[in-house]
Symmetry: D3
Subunit: 336 residues, 6 copies
């Protein structure tokens, strides 16, 4: 795991009992607690995190004074020892101070796409340019030519937890859905390519307002109360009204793709797919989201020798990562 900032220091995911470490972490939680023997005063319990995870930390000495010098949400520089206590890894903090601006890169503290942002943008840009219908092209450019829109899209996650739930995840999702749409267009000439690409490019624009990702990836109030499907419909309808003579047939078909892209009422779509482009978009999106979700779960750290992931409550199951890291498969191929 390569840090964005050279002085980041070790990542949480790599911390092992016995390590002595020095590095930068985000303070996710902070609390002063009294020792049971009250004559000893108080100690400090922290939750320190970076984009690979979080660990409990304790400051045994000088805790009360130190606690005054930083807030939850600050990045701090920490020196300490990693140890295991009651089966749980924690950091015993020896030194700690608030970091100053230039010492760290926020991208080290939130999970982010492993893909190259420029390459993702190149793929998206190619799709934009391939749209030949002038109305649809204008509609898409209404959003994608806006610098602020591009800046936010470069950072936004595609979800809080389920899939592409990391910085840049929405852009990655878009690029992948577009790639799947090209495969679909190749198979089904009856699908209108301009419409499908437009749908892919615009279906999730509401997510730019559904999520916040300054300190942690979370819903905005608007995200919870209105949701990205309706936010997106309002954004796209608003844009259509600013474009001259936008054809009614296209108005209906684009908005329909947007409001139906979750595919079912119970998955939050207020309409179900009723056109060829809408059904294709829904399933391309679904395929991409689910494969990414499985990939993330399978990539999470497991104990050595463990063939199954932890139980995932939302999926309602464990996933099979394989016994022997699929060695038997590779071996088999080479045996010949």
């Amino acid at each position: 795991m390569t840090p964005k900032h050279p002085q980041k220091g070790p990542f949480i995911i790599d911390a092992r009992p016995g390590d002595r470490l020095t590095g930068f972490f985000l303070v996710r939680h902070k609390q002063l607690e009294p020792f049971r023997d009250r004559s000893k005063g108080e100690f400090l319990t922290l939750m320190l995190g970076d984009r690979t995870g979080q660990l409990l930390a304790r400051v045994w000495e000088g805790a009360a004074e130190l606690a005054e010098t930083f807030e939850e949400g600050d990045v701090v520089k920490v020196a300490g020892d990693v140890e295991e206590y009651l089966g749980r890894t924690q950091i015993i903090v020896n030194k700690l101070r608030r970091a100053s601006e230039g010492e760290y890169d926020l991208a080290d503290f939130l999970p982010a796409t492993g893909k190259n942002i420029d390459e993702l943008w190149a793929a998206v840009q190619a799709a934009i340019e391939s749209i030949t219908n002038p109305h649809l092209a204008a509609l898409v450019r209404h959003f994608y030519d806006d610098a602020d829109f591009r800046a936010r899209l470069s950072q936004a996650p595609a979800a809080r937890r389920v899939h592409h739930a990391y910085l840049g995840g929405l852009l990655e999702h878009l690029a992948e859905v577009l790639a799947l749409c090209e495969a679909v267009l190749h198979l089904y000439p009856a699908i209108n390519a301009d419409l499908l690409r437009t749908g892919a490019l615009l279906h999730d624009v509401g997510k730019l307002r559904e999520y916040a990702w300054e300190r942690d990836i979370d819903y905005t109030d608007e995200g919870r109360l209105v949701g990205h499907i309706v936010i997106g419909a309002e954004m796209v309808s608003g844009a259509m009204e600013q474009l001259p003579d936008f054809p009614e047939e296209l108005r209906l078909r684009v908005r329909h793709m947007l409001v139906s892209h979750h595919g079912r009422y119970e998955w939050g779509s207020p309409a179900r797919p009723q056109t060829l482009e809408a059904i294709a978009l829904h399933h391309a999106e679904e395929l991409n989201a689910q494969v990414n979700r499985f990939q993330s779960l399978l990539a999470a750290r497991r104990e050595p020798g463990q063939a199954w992931t932890d139980y995932d409550r939302l999926l309602g199951r464990q996933l099979y990562a394989g016994r022997d890291d699929d060695l038997s498969i590779e071996e088999a191929s080479q045996m010949e």
Copy 2:
């Protein structure tokens, strides 16, 4: 059943085998068919309707020529005999001609509210005027001060089939929901009255574009492809943007009521109620819709002596209208 136009003639619901009738009907379907004995030429099969129902009709003579003189969707003047054939009531047409404009009132041919439109408007107007928050008042008036909006709202149905499915039904529904909201506000002072009234007044504005009701009450393309919840959200969000300094908190809360008013994802709401006003609006609307639906089913014609309505496929049950027209109940009251 009183007709709007004095020359309407008998209504479908009152036609009985043996009647000889003269009156005006809407041609819902028209088809020329050959007699089995081809030498006899063709006869004409029609579906004639008015706002109380529809009946099959036949023209045995001169059918081919007559068929040239009118179209489906026309109102025609008919003289004929009502008879029963194979268990089905039908009209044997003796004379038929296309009606001219002044001879009929379209309101006789589509089902319509039995309530007084002016009284309904008075109730709605009172609610509008009771809103004291200037932003919400301005938002509501943005719609309700528009003459075209009022004209359409005076006519629109609230549904195609389920509840208030007749001309003026949407206005009737609004007035009733507002009345229920007043009862709710009386019980729960914690509910913000301005917000709830605003929600009640605006939650269904999208239905003005979801339904068409020129010849028959049906969905528009936009109604099927986008749905009244999203259409309404776009309309209301668009209006908010035209109002100066519309507060963000109100923007969220009003749109939230609108998108959550069906209460559940599987009933087509892309968000579930998360505020006190939203849950109150949802249940006031639901109560009103369901009671109206039951009332309509119970008001439909039954054979004499029949205690149960026909099976309603959408509800999945028959309703109980009562044995002896509730006479036992009335009697009981008078026994004292």
Copy 3:
């Protein structure tokens, strides 16, 4: 929060770390535990509660002897210090003794309606008196003229957790449902007013046997094994048999309202609404229950500045209480 008994002392909800408090609490749980250093003997862990919540408490000295002097379920008088330990507020008990009868009012230890019981009864009484059908009036009075029934109804909760889950909650619920029914009757003259009022007054009588509320609000065995719908049907049917010449039509319609008032099989109703009065009662009840449930969740204590309630597992969501305590709304109103 005003206590019913003048010497109650501070309520749990108001206890803050650093407070020194003296007051009365219900002992919900009691356990002697050894110190890790066994030579020190044992300490006492208690769960102390009142109608606003519960807190952990510890007795460090003289624990074993003290523990002999009271039982779980007793009310005790406590003097102690409130402190925070490992992020959890607890009481360090300095003195504790069992309270005697006159020193406290049980109503301070269970949550109770904030409404005036007499006013609730007045509303219920008005509904009873408005019933003109002699059979229905007699049926209702069979229950409501019984002193024991009235005494229990003055105390019973309407649920264990979901809505009106506090002493007096059932009476409050009844009064509110009756108020909603009046609004419904005003809108729908086709609804039989006597029947609807009777249904509202009797639909939940089974809850008097479904719940126990001596120490804590919980189900009775009968509540769990039979449920208030069937218990209520048995009570009402039994009463009808004692009334002379109770008309069959009314027997069916009243029992139907009772057994169908949850509206759906999956919500525990063994029949679905099939009459106008039954559908109206179901939705009036549902509206009232859901709005009350939201109101309770929104009234629970939140950290300052928090716009959202905690996640409610049964509802499957958080509720929005508002950012700035709706200040923007009020301000807006005053800006004019």
Copy 4:
């Protein structure tokens, strides 16, 4: 198929095009219709039935006069010819007259159990007598010692359509559930035998009022509006109150079995099984009902060579009756 009355004549199920038949049938529907050539007057269309099915019938001559001489619901004596018209078998009636009382047995006109009623009663009686707990024995005898109860139970169906939907079906169902319960008791000594037998004997007593079976098997108003579970609970609770000192523990456990015997809320049980006896009763009942339902569907007439039954809408599938009447299986056994 043996008729109950020697002069019944052929059953509907055996009527084949080309047959000339004379026999007794129930008039299920009757209607006079005009010939298309009105100068020819009217003919009579009838639906004639017996317990094996129903057939359309026509009277071409003297129809109007004949129609005056009998009503729907009468049994008539018919002489006619069976023929096929437009793919549908029908009877051309040559002679028809109303039957008089002694000429027929109503049991020939409604479907009825093929089992011997006395043997069924013997099995039920044995179960009653095996109950040793005096309270439960008294409770069961409260019902089973009543002559009217026994008379109705000898006739009642267990359902309108799904299982044991024929006269005597409820008694047959009871006897079979009791037999299954004995097998269960043999396997699980922890189950209280008296309770389980009591539950089996009483769980469906409400069906005696849920169904009517004079002319056709149908729901009563009470059956639709209240349902057999609540009717039964009222009957059993009422009986318990008339028995001296009926123990509370038994009151709860018997009523619990009754209200939970459908097993799930969505199948109409207002409580789910929470005791060993309740879960055993539910599954014994379910096993019996489903096997009987399959057996009835598989016993219905199929075209020769057809391996599958017709699609059953409630089950949502066709059933496999077997290709070659399982001949291959029998043959196989004899091959040895």
Copy 5:
């Protein structure tokens, strides 16, 4: 629509009232019926079909003799007139004779893929050859090198009604799923390409025994009673046992893809996807099936000017084909 056999004559889909036609059709149903005026003897009612649909046909004269000369399931040569009777198009047959073998091609009488079979096979073959793991390659070739397997796969449909429900549909479906899998593999290097291709090639082999397509596409007994998922698992497991040293890890992963490819229990999969390859296969299959299904529904004949398809009962909705055949869209593109 081009026929496979040059003398096929007009297709059903093109028959219009007023046409005089001569051509070959499959007899799907045949029945002799008496004229109402029995003195006139009998006429013959036929259902004649080809791969584009089916039409009712009548033979008025010489019907009885003619009926002896052919059977249901035969192909016949027909000369007749197309006319409309009671709103239903039918053929009045003037001449009819049984066709002899060389006169027709069965492919004209069942719906079949419009794709080139050789090209589909080329795509499938390329996928087979790209598998490098020797065990998986051997497994796939076990099936695909078998001439009978290839012959059946060239003809089999992928479903009875829902998607690719025509001859060659299964092969078309395979080729399309493989193409989508290549797009997925390109996006997700973590997916094992050999496994995914093997899964795609084998997941539906059970359909070769689930369907019969001699006269009509229908389920086999085995298809209904066991289903293609289990049939396929048995076939693939059986093959694995014949291959030497097939690695256990691969045995599990391939069978897992097969049994989980419907994705959910309620869609008939006895296991849910638990590996990356299984989730990718499920969604690639689902995307392909749903888009094909929409395409088929949108391709079915609609009345001119109709923007919506007929209601599809299984989908529970109508689909939007577009108003003006998307003319506005094309026009728009050309406006530049």
Copy 6:
């Protein structure tokens, strides 16, 4: 609770605070932890189990050295004191050593059937011998004559948690299902006895590979990825292929019973019951599984005086064990 091995010592379920115990336990979990006062070194935390439950245990002295001498999964001999700490019972270990082979019986450490294995086998054997069809008899004997199959079936559990979740549970389940099938066969002569017995004997053979039970009852990889229904179908189909001339009709009917025995898609059956034998087998299995599940929950230890079991998450409810251990019922019986 009688141990299988005479030196087992006390069972976990019987350990009470204050006991001094010596006996054998399985080490389920082992971890060295530092004392908070690090100068004191480390202590050892263990989870010790046997077939009646598990308890936490601590080794305060010599922990590091001792920890080297045994592994998780070993059986150890322990001497120690049982005490209560913070409301949780634990063992303070005074002595501990790894046990050697002959000192214990593994059956003491996993839960196991309380039934006599030989009697269960006798019942199963009787069913096998009662099958007269030679093909079905051969099929059943293919499995049941195999010594390894019998050995595994003597040990296998029927589930991981839900029902018969203990060693020998599968055999017990089989014997019970067979007994229920005999009762069903007695009631329904139309059911083919050979088929039903064969289905009962083979329906769960896949469970021998779905579960592992060496140290703990858990799924195998194959169990999770493929499931016992498909594993079983493969085993049975494979066996059929090795038997000469196995009739196709029987092939279909036996496999159908196997794949449909869970009864519904959502319960994991890839086909639903479509034959009389399949529906009977499904419900016999279901009855047996559910009653066993209830019995296990009701047999688990409860605090004295507690009438209700703990909440069972999978069932979604608590079960009623009875107030006064049903004494009132027994008393009642003796009152006579």
